[in-house]
């Protein structure tokens, strides 16, 4: 038994990977429900593995798993510390809640003969995201990043049944995503050229002595820009709004909650573990490039969100703003700031997961999601809209919600660095969030329903349960925040450990 548990780090990636081609076999019986059930089981298995790994790391410290028993740095190593165990939990957890939600919405939004292939791509996307998070090998990160990206292009394009713009959204994401991933590989090439290794721990050791090497600096720049594209940091966010808007509901939930977060995790890993402040201009890039871009992202995203009429698009813009908050935490690069960033990765996944799930419920009932199509729906769909409002409050950062916890820690981190001018900016950013959430509340609750609309009923309970589980998490982790704060603080300490 213990032997089997020892292999969990590889199983959490290998099981979704192998189950993807098995899922294709369901086409022979044209059994859509079996494919869904299969995806559900795999997601729950991954979630259990992630819980086990996080527990194991909390109790016994880092896990280093050697693939095929080849010793690192020659062999590929899966290295799990508190940070990636936490991100694994986020990715698999969101998947475990989203798939039960998915059956009805997928039935509605995807052609029946495509659904099995849809679940196959979904499993591949899950594999990719889990793989990026767990691996300790830099080139492996690229491969898994491409697995998740390629499958997410396919998944986004499957929204074409409701709107043809899903195709162009997927195409633009494909071009930009590939440019981003290629930049990342160029950067890795530079690092490999100088160090001759791809293992993250080994890279970090060898880069300590190479602080003045020009090739390392070039590699740093390429990697950072590539990752900034993947995580949709402000001027490189152009692929995000359309992708989230026109993707099928299940994919909007999954990608909005996890995909950009995983890229942020990789950025954290490279900034702090691999480069680890081995040369001076890392703090400079954080203060003079990342911080201004993050502030612009908050304002651009929030103001952009206010002017949207499509609700999914509105929240996609708000995602751009939320990435800004996380990046401010990273740019602070003190323990509290980094803890705020890690916390917000988790909290934002809960918030955006809940919001896009509520949006999925609305799509299920009214189809096109414009502010006019939800006029007066608040009374007809009370459970969906109260969930949307509660998640919105969490997004704004009302006390007792998770949004408050991460913003509070962000403010503490800012005070520690003494960057006072940032505080009003963050408060104004939150007020802008009030504006766009209010816009939805106003339309849904205070506008009369158009007289010619047929009465709309509440969505089935099967959709409401996962939605309310996420809303519950939003409040549970907002009140019982000790668990997540403890993990985030510890994670921040690990990240900053490499600092000379």
């Amino acid at each position: 038994m213990t032997n089997w548990l020892h292999h969990i780090p590889i199983l959490i990636v290998a099981v979704p990977l192998i189950s993807a081609p098995i899922c294709v076999l369901f086409t022979f019986g044209a059994n859509r429900k079996a494919a869904w059930l299969w995806t559900l089981l795999v997601s729950w298995f991954a979630f259990l593995c992630a819980i086990y790994l996080l527990n194991h790391v909390l109790e016994n410290g880092e896990i280093s798993y050697h693939l095929g028993s080849w010793k690192p740095p020659l062999g590929i190593e899966y290295r799990i510390d508190l940070i990636n165990a936490f991100v694994l939990l986020i990715v698999s957890g969101i998947s475990a809640v989203a798939i039960p939600f998915g059956r009805l919405v997928v039935d509605r939004e995807i052609e029946p003969d495509r659904q099995i292939l849809f679940y196959t791509s979904y499993l591949l996307c899950l594999t990719g995201l889990l793989g990026v998070t767990i691996t300790g090998d830099a080139f492996n990160i690229f491969v898994f990043l491409e697995i998740s990206s390629l499958s997410s292009y396919v998944l986004i394009a499957m929204g074409v049944r409701s709107d043809r713009r899903a195709l162009t959204a997927a195409y633009n994401y494909l071009i930009l995503g590939t440019v981003g991933a290629t930049f990342f590989v160029i950067g890795l090439g530079f690092l490999y050229m100088v160090t001759g290794t791809l293992n993250i721990m080994d890279l970090s050791d060898r880069l300590m002595q190479l602080a003045d090497n020009k090739a390392v600096h070039a590699g740093y720049a390429f990697i950072i820009i590539g990752l900034a594209l993947k995580m949709a940091l402000f001027p490189m966010h152009v692929w995000l709004p359309n992708s989230y808007t026109y993707a099928p509901s299940l994919i909007s939930i999954f990608l909005a909650a996890t995909a950009t977060k995983v890229s942020i995790y990789v950025l954290l890993r490279f900034l702090f573990t691999v480069f680890g402040f081995s040369f001076d201009f890392i703090p400079l890039t954080l203060t003079f490039i990342f911080l201004p871009l993050a502030i612009i992202a908050i304002f651009f995203g929030s103001i952009g969100a206010i002017f949207q009429t499509n609700i999914k698009r509105l929240f996609a813009y708000s995602s751009v703003a939320q990435i800004g908050y996380i990046v401010i935490g990273i740019a602070l690069s003190n323990t509290i700031g980094l803890a705020a960033a890690v916390l917000h990765i988790f909290n934002h996944a809960l918030i955006k997961g809940a919001i896009f799930m509520a949006a999925g419920c609305l799509v299920y009932r009214v189809g096109k999601l414009t502010t006019d199509s939800i006029r007066g729906l608040g009374k007809e769909m009370p459970w969906t809209f109260s969930a949307l409002v509660l998640a919105g409050l969490s997004l704004i950062g009302i006390p007792t919600t998770v949004g408050f916890i991460s913003k509070w820690y962000l403010l503490l981190g800012i005070m520690e660095n003494g960057w006072w001018p940032l505080i009003p900016l963050i408060v104004i950013g939150s007020l802008l969030a009030v504006v766009y959430i209010w816009k939805i509340i106003e339309v849904a609750y205070f506008f009369p329903a158009p007289p010619d609309r047929a009465p709309v009923s509440e969505v089935p309970i099967e959709l409401l349960i996962p939605l309310w589980i996420l809303i519950g998490c939003n409040f549970y982790f907002g009140i019982q925040a000790d668990i997540t704060i403890g993990i985030a603080k510890e994670a921040a300490t690990i990240l900053l450990d490499n600092r000379p």
Partner: protein, 129 residues
């Protein structure tokens, strides 16, 4: 100076290709041409990896029993993976272009954005009317 450039001619070629590829991706409006540009860009990276694996006077890394200098095989292996990724990206991109042409009747970015604009406006009008 000239010698420094000539000695590293392979890198200069790679940078040249890289910039051509990236420029095509950014500047062309034709969706197929963008994918061609993306391919050139990716290929330049493959060449970058292959060229850093080469050792002067090294042979192919085959186990012969005799101590010889041989090229580093690892970059080749990495690039095999990257080539597969590149092919998958190209195939998917072209498949998307086919579908885009079916639903928009064009593969020029300008035409597509005009018809998307039109679609967005007609949605707004439908609501307000």
């Amino acid at each position: 100076m000239l010698a420094a450039i000539l000695d590293h001619y392979n890198y200069w070629l790679i940078i040249f290709l890289m910039m051509i590829g990236l420029y095509i991706v950014v500047s062309r409006g034709n969706l197929i041409k963008k994918i061609v540009g993306l391919n050139i860009f990716q290929t330049s990276v493959f060449l970058l990896y292959i060229t850093i694996g080469k050792v002067n006077y090294g042979t192919a890394p085959i186990l012969t029993g005799q101590p010889e200098t041989f090229s580093n095989p690892l970059p080749h292996v990495l690039i095999l993976t990257a080539i597969v990724v590149g092919i998958a990206t190209t195939a998917l991109g072209l498949a998307l272009v086919v579908r885009i042409r079916e639903s928009y009747g064009s593969i020029e970015e300008e035409d597509i954005s005009v018809s998307e604009q039109f679609q967005a406006e007609s949605e707004v009008n439908k609501i307000s009317s």
